[in-house]
């Protein structure tokens, strides 16, 4: 075969490889979006049930909804893992999960005030530095491993894993924001560098918001099964807006003060440890040079 025949073939093979990679990325995004949407629908089903057609017996039971959550979680974990994870990724993720699980173990031994927990900081920063897949796995595995070592396995675990996974996955917006800021700074060479607080502000807002969101999402799975004041309990046949109103009253009465400490704790930890932790993670990301992007 001469060179002129060989070159077009190489070019065609390279194009096919790029197309396959693009298709894979597209499918991966679709899987993440669809599994997250289905999971969100399962979590939010107490608000939607009355709007839907009558379901077969047991179709809205806790077991059915838990099954749906587990299925979505399994799909997301499989996609985040891919066919194989590189040894570097496995070792790095394993070590960060070990550190976070040890923090949760310490938190169990010496509980912080109300909903304060030290584990969310590393989940958020891992997602922000290493990307959505890594952040998702970091959230999911932190909850799983720490539950195994602290004896916290229970029906709540898949919900905790899912919610913490979402937290880590959504931290990719900080990754993108940071990238955009870096580009902007490169374009404005003479501008003074931003203060540490200004740099951290989006992270603080994000962590504070997740302090409340984590509690609000986690409450959803048990809310329909708790008896209590009719003004804040779930009832069959409620309209969507009534369901939301009752849930907000329930959340304000039972969980808001708890989550205030969770949000304040996240903000405080990021203020004190956020920048040094990010520096360490970024330095090692560059050393590892793995494909940890979203």
């Amino acid at each position: 075969m001469n060179l002129s025949e060989h070159l077009p073939r190489c070019s065609a093979a390279a194009h096919a490889s790029i197309d396959r990679r693009r298709l894979g990325k597209l499918l991966s995004t679709a899987i993440f979006a669809l599994a997250s949407l289905l999971g969100l629908m399962a979590f939010a089903s107490p608000f939607f049930m009355p709007l839907q057609q009558s379901a077969p017996a047991g179709a809205n039971s806790p077991a059915y909804l838990a099954g749906l959550i587990v299925l979505c979680l399994a799909a997301l974990m499989a996609e985040a893992q891919g066919q194989t994870m590189s040894a570097k990724l496995v070792a790095l993720l394993g070590m960060l999960v070990a550190i976070n699980a040890a923090l949760r173990f310490a938190e169990n031994a010496i509980p912080g005030p109300a909903g304060f927990t030290p584990v969310f900081m590393l989940i958020i920063l891992a997602g922000a530095v290493f990307g959505a897949r890594f952040g998702f796995l970091m959230g999911v595995l932190t909850m799983l491993v720490s539950a195994l070592i602290t004896g916290g396995v229970g029906p709540w675990l898949p919900y905790q894993m899912f919610t913490a996974g979402w937290m880590g996955m959504s931290a990719v917006v900080l990754h993108r924001w940071k990238g955009a800021q870096t580009q902007k700074r490169l374009g404005e060479n003479d501008s003074p560098s931003a203060s540490p607080l200004a740099h951290l502000l989006p992270y603080l807002l994000f962590a504070g918001a997740w302090g409340f969101l984590y509690g609000a999402i986690m409450n959803l799975w048990s809310w329909p099964f708790l008896a209590g004041d009719p003004a804040q309990s779930w009832q069959a046949g409620l309209s969507f807006s009534d369901g939301i109103k009752r849930y907000l009253v329930f959340y304000a009465a039972t969980s808001l003060w708890w989550d205030v400490f969770a949000a304040a704790g996240n903000i405080l930890l990021l203020l004190l440890f956020g920048l040094p932790t990010m520096k360490v993670l970024t330095r090692f990301k560059n050393r590892f040079l793995f494909e940890g992007g979203a």
Binding site: L34, A102, G228, D229
Partner: protein, 341 residues
């Protein structure tokens, strides 16, 4: 005892606990879990929840919250005057008892899982991880193996900083401990990954799943979402939505099973012994004897409610006896080990 038996025990007792609101049966279920828990050799390195303190807190809080927020029932203890939202109204004995029963259910569920956590070693939890998640399983093994090292490293860092005069007085003082701990962990992960590659564990590059598997997974999820959404449209037959959801779920499961191309080996014996089989059979008998009548609607004593007027819960000896069969893990685990079947 084999971990499978423990899973069956926990699932059976959960079904029994959630099938009734009768406090007498709930108390028997709780008693059974405590007896079984007491018979398990506990791992001193595992954290243990202070269950009785927590139980008291949960039952009291649940009773109080229900009594303050639900003003139904004939036996009025006192009345909160005024227009305080949620709280104003009659505080009834029935509300108090119903809340306490809810709390008792929660405590029993907690106790079941506390016993399960104490009975099953982490390596057995790992054994049940599906093979499709080989990389995640390996990550978990590393994480669980390194947790004790992390705590040891933290102690070392703390001692080293103390020698330099550093004292931890507030949360801010944790920074000189946190950064070396994190950096040391990352350095160790780098060495570990190199050692893994040198020994042939894991790949040097991550690989995406095959396009076929991804397509099947995405199509399954899309079908499930479409099925769920179709239930909002009354014009469409209900079976269509449920059928699409079931088919989508099946496609997702198939795509996950198709990833199963690795094999597991274990150094530990995983076969069920005669004693394990006996225990499984007794748990099944107990479950059927308790849940069977409930499914057939032949057991009125399960569905007890204190509203509107408090009444004494009824008790059926057969159901009580069926619950005692869940204590068999303690009885069968005593004595010499049985032969394998």
């Amino acid at each position: 005892m084999n971990a499978l038996v423990w899973f069956a025990w926990a699932a059976g007792l959960m079904a029994v606990t959630l099938a009734t609101r009768n406090p007498l049966y709930l108390l028997i279920a709780l008693g059974v879990t405590r007896v079984v828990n007491a018979g398990i050799p506990h791992d001193p390195t595992k954290a243990h929840l202070p269950l009785w303190r927590m139980a008291l807190f949960i039952v009291l809080l649940s009773a109080l919250f229900n009594a303050l927020s639900v003003h139904i029932g004939d036996t009025v203890l006192f009345t909160i005057p005024g227009d305080i939202p949620m709280f104003s109204g009659a505080i009834t004995l029935e509300g108090l008892i119903y809340g306490a029963t809810n709390g008792l259910t929660l405590v029993t569920v907690l106790s079941i899982f506390q016993t399960l956590n104490a009975a099953i070693a982490p390596r057995d939890w790992m054994r049940f991880a599906p093979r499709a998640y080989q990389s995640i399983g390996m990550t978990m093994s590393i994480a669980m193996g390194f947790v004790p090292q992390v705590t040891r490293r933290l102690r070392e860092v703390r001692e080293a900083q103390a020698v330099r005069g550093h004292r931890v007085k507030g949360i801010r003082d944790w920074l000189p401990l946190w950064v070396p701990l994190l950096t040391g962990g990352m350095e160790q992960s780098m060495q570990l990954s190199e050692a893994m590659v040198a020994r042939g564990f894991g790949a040097t590059q991550s690989q995406s799943a095959s396009t076929t598997r991804q397509t099947l997974l995405a199509a399954g999820l899309l079908m499930a979402v479409a099925g769920w959404l179709s239930r909002f449209f009354a014009a469409l037959p209900a079976w269509l939505g449920w059928g699409a959801m079931a088919a989508g779920g099946l496609m997702v499961i198939v795509s996950l099973i198709r990833r199963n191309d690795t094999s597991h080996t274990s150094l530990h014996d995983q076969r069920l012994t005669k004693r394990d089989w006996l225990c499984l059979a007794l748990i099944l008998v107990g479950l059927m004897a308790f849940v069977g009548p409930a499914l057939l609607g032949q057991s009125a004593s399960l569905a007890w409610s204190p509203y509107p007027a408090l009444s004494r819960p009824t008790f059926e000896v057969l159901l009580g006896a069926a619950m005692l069969l869940f204590a068999t893990p303690v009885v069968t685990s005593a004595g010499p080990t049985g032969d394998h079947l």
